[in-house]
Amino acid sequence: MKIITAVIKPFKLDEAREALTEIGVHGMTATEVKGYGRQKGHAEIYRGAEYIVSFLPKVKIEVALPDALVDRAIEAIRKSAYTGHIGDGKIFVSPLERAMRIRTGETDSDAL
C-alpha cells in the first residue's frame, strides 16, 4: 500500500478527482493549504503599503491505494493538474503500513 500526497492548484481539484475516479480510485482527502516552491508568491498593495505574500493557496490531496494502482494514479494526477506554468505543484509517494475502515473493522487492502 502507498499513500500519494499531491499539492496542486486549487482550481484543478475537480479534474484530479475525476481522473482518479476513472482509474478506479474511490476516495480521497483534500485540504486547503498554503505553500511555495519555485513560484515565489505575489505582491499585494494596500494604500501604498506593499507586502510580498510568499505562501500561496494550494490544495493538498491524499490518496491511499494498493501498490498496483500507484503508477496510474501518479499519471492521472499529473495529467489532470498540469497547466505547464510554474506553481503546478508536486506529487509525493510514501509507504503506508496499515489501514482500517472504522465502520466495519476491515483492514489493509480491504479498507482502501
Binding site: E44, I45, Y46, R47, G48, A49, Y51, V53
Partner: protein
C-alpha cells in the same frame, strides 16, 4: 416643586431628614432631572420658529442615515482594513463611541455646543435636555423640533469620535479609548461645534462649514494624527505584513458611508429644500470623482487599480466635499472630488511612508487632509446664487472674484487645527493619568480581540 412626585422613597426620606445643604442639593438635582421624568411644556421658546412637517420628516431620516454611517458603516469600513486578530476590537471602538458620546451629548454635550450665545462655549441651560419640550425649537434650526436638532447633531459627535479610533486601531487599550471619547468630546468637539455652528466666534466671523469640514473632518483627522504619534507605531510597522483582513467588509462599510453621507451633507441644510438636494448632488459627484482618481492613479503607478483604492477615493471625496457641499454648484463637486482623490492618494501612499508615522487607517491622510482642503475650497467655490437665502445676500468665493472668504476659511482651518492639537494632547494626558494608552507588546501580538475582549473570529 411638582417633580418631587417622581422621586423614590429613599430620596423622600433624605429630603425630610437630611441637612439643609443636602436638601438643597437634592432639590437641584431633582429640578435638573424633572424634564426627563415629566413631560414639561417649553418655557423658553427662543426663535419664532414653527415646526414644519416635511422638514421634520426629512431630518428624522437624515438622522438615521448619519447614525448608520457609524453603525454599521464605519465599524465595517474600519474592521475590514485591520488584521483578523483585531476585527472585533475595531468594531468595538465604533460601538462604544456611539454609546458613550450619545449619553454625554444628552447629558451636557449638546448644551455646551448649541445653547447660549458665548463666543467660545455654550452654557448649561440644556443640560439633561432641560427646557426641551414638544414645542421647543432651537434658534439654530427654526422649522424642526429642538429634540430632533439635538439628536441629529448627536450623530455628528458620535461619528467624529469613532473616526479618531481608526488611527490607533490595533494598539490602543479599550478602556483608554472609552475615556478618550469622554475627555475629547468636551475639550475639542463641543467647543469646536459651538464656534462653527452654535453661534460661536468662527460662525460670527463668517466661516463657511456646511456639514463639518472643520468640526468633523479636521478634528477627527488631526486628533487621529496626534493620537497615532503619541501612541507610537504598531509592532512590525514597515516590516511585517499588516494587510487587511477582508477588504469586502471595507467595501460594504464604505457603501454605507457613501449613502449615509446624503443624510450628513443633505441633512445639514436642516430642511427639506433645494439646498439639501444641491448638497446631495455635489456630495455624490465628489465621491464618484474621488473614487476614479484614486484608483486611476494606482492603475498608472502600480499597474492595477485596487478595490481598496476605489473606496478610499470615494471616502476622500466625501470628506472633502463636506464643508462646501451646500454652498456650491454641482460641477464644483466634481472638481473637489478630483482634487481630493489625487491629494489624499499621494498623502496616504507616499507622504505617510516618508514620514514613517503609523496612522493605522489613514484618518489624517483622508479626513484631516480632506477636511483642510475642503474647507479652503469652500472659500474658492462658494457661489452667491447658492449661498443666498431670503434676506441673506449670500457669499461669493474666489472663483466669483472675492478672495475675502478664502481668508476667513484659512483662519477657520488654522484655529481648528491648533485647538485640536492642543486639546487632543490634553485629552490623552488626562486619560494617561488613569490608564496606559496602549496595550502591552504581548497583547498586541496576540491580537486585541482575545487580549481585550476575550473573543475571536473563527472560520
Amino acid at each position: 416643586m411638582h417633580s418631587s412626585i417622581a422621586l423614590g422613597p429613599r430620596k423622600e426620606f433624605l429630603i425630610r431628614h437630611g441637612g439643609d445643604g443636602l436638601r438643597r442639593m437634592i432639590l437641584r438635582v431633582a429640578a435638573a432631572l424633572a424634564p426627563l421624568i415629566v413631560a414639561q411644556p417649553a418655557f423658553a421658546q427662543d426663535g419664532a420658529g414653527k415646526v414644519d412637517a416635511a422638514d421634520t420628516a426629512f431630518m428624522i431620516a437624515a438622522t438615521a442615515l448619519v447614525l448608520m454611517m457609524t453603525l454599521p458603516g464605519l465599524a465595517l469600513f474600519y474592521s475590514g482594513m485591520v488584521r483578523k486578530k483585531n476585527v472585533l476590537a475595531t468594531m468595538a471602538q465604533s460601538l462604544v463611541a456611539t454609546a458613550i458620546v450619545s449619553l454625554l451629548w444628552i447629558g451636557i454635550g449638546y448644551s455646551l455646543a448649541f445653547s447660549g450665545d458665548g463666543a467660545y462655549i455654550g452654557d448649561a441651560s440644556r443640560a439633561l435636555l432641560a427646557g426641551i419640550g414638544l414645542d421647543t425649537v432651537s434658534p439654530l434650526a427654526k422649522t424642526i423640533p429642538e429634540i430632533l436638532f439635538m439628536i441629529y447633531q448627536m450623530t455628528f459627535a458620535v461619528i467624529t469620535c469613532a473616526l479618531v479610533g481608526g488611527s490607533v486601531a490595533e494598539r490602543m487599550r479599550f478602556s483608554a479609548f472609552m475615556l478618550f471619547c469622554v475627555s475629547w468630546l468636551f475639550i475639542v468637539y463641543a467647543p469646536s461645534a459651538h464656534w462653527v455652528w452654535g453661534g460661536g466666534f468662527l460662525q460670527k466671523m463668517g466661516l463657511l462649514d456646511f456639514a463639518g469640514g472643520t468640526v468633523v473632518h479636521i478634528n477627527a483627522g488631526v486628533a487621529g494624527l496626534v493620537c497615532a504619534l503619541v501612541l507610537g507605531n504598531r509592532v512590525g510597522f514597515g516590516r511585517e505584513n499588516l494587510s487587511p483582513f477582508d477588504v469586502s467588509l471595507a467595501v460594504i462599510g464604505a457603501g454605507l458611508l457613501w449613502v449615509g453621507w446624503f443624510g450628513f451633507n443633505g441633512g445639514s441644510a436642516l430642511a427639506a429644500n433645494s439646498r439639501a438636494v444641491f448638497a446631495i448632488v455635489a456630495t455624490h459627484l465628489a465621491a464618484c470623482a474621488g473614487a476614479l482618481v484614486w484608483s486611476g492613479l494606482e492603475w498608472l503607478q502600480r499597474g492595477k487599480p485596487s478595490v481598496l483604492g476605489v473606496v478610499s477615493g470615494a471616502v476622500a471625496g466625501l470628506g472633502t466635499i463636506t464643508p462646501a457641499s451646500g454652498y456650491i454648484l454641482p460641477w464644483h463637486g466634481i472638481v473637489v472630488g478630483l482634487i481630493a482623490g489625487a491629494v489624499c492618494y499621494w498623502f496616504c501612499s507616499v507622504v505617510k511612508y516618508r514620514l514613517r508615522y503609523d496612522d493605522t487607517l489613514d484618518v489624517f491622510g483622508v479626513h484631516g487632509v480632506g477636511g483642510v482642503m475642503g474647507t479652503l475650497l469652500a472659500g474658492v467655490f462658494a457661489t452667491r446664487a447658492i449661498t443666498a437665502s431670503g434676506s441673506d445676500p449670500g457669499v461669493a468665493g474666489l472663483l466669483e472674484g472675492d478672495p475675502h472668504q478664502l481668508l476667513v476659511q484659512a483662519i477657520g482651518v488654522g484655529v481648528t487645527v491648533v485647538w485640536c492639537v492642543v486639546g487632543t494632547l490634553a485629552a490623552l494626558k488626562i486619560v494617561s493619568l488613569v490608564t496606559s494608552l496602549r496595550v502591552n507588546a504581548d497583547d498586541e501580538r496576540e491580537g486585541l480581540d482575545i487580549a481585550l475582549h476575550g473573543e475571536a473570529l473563527h472560520q
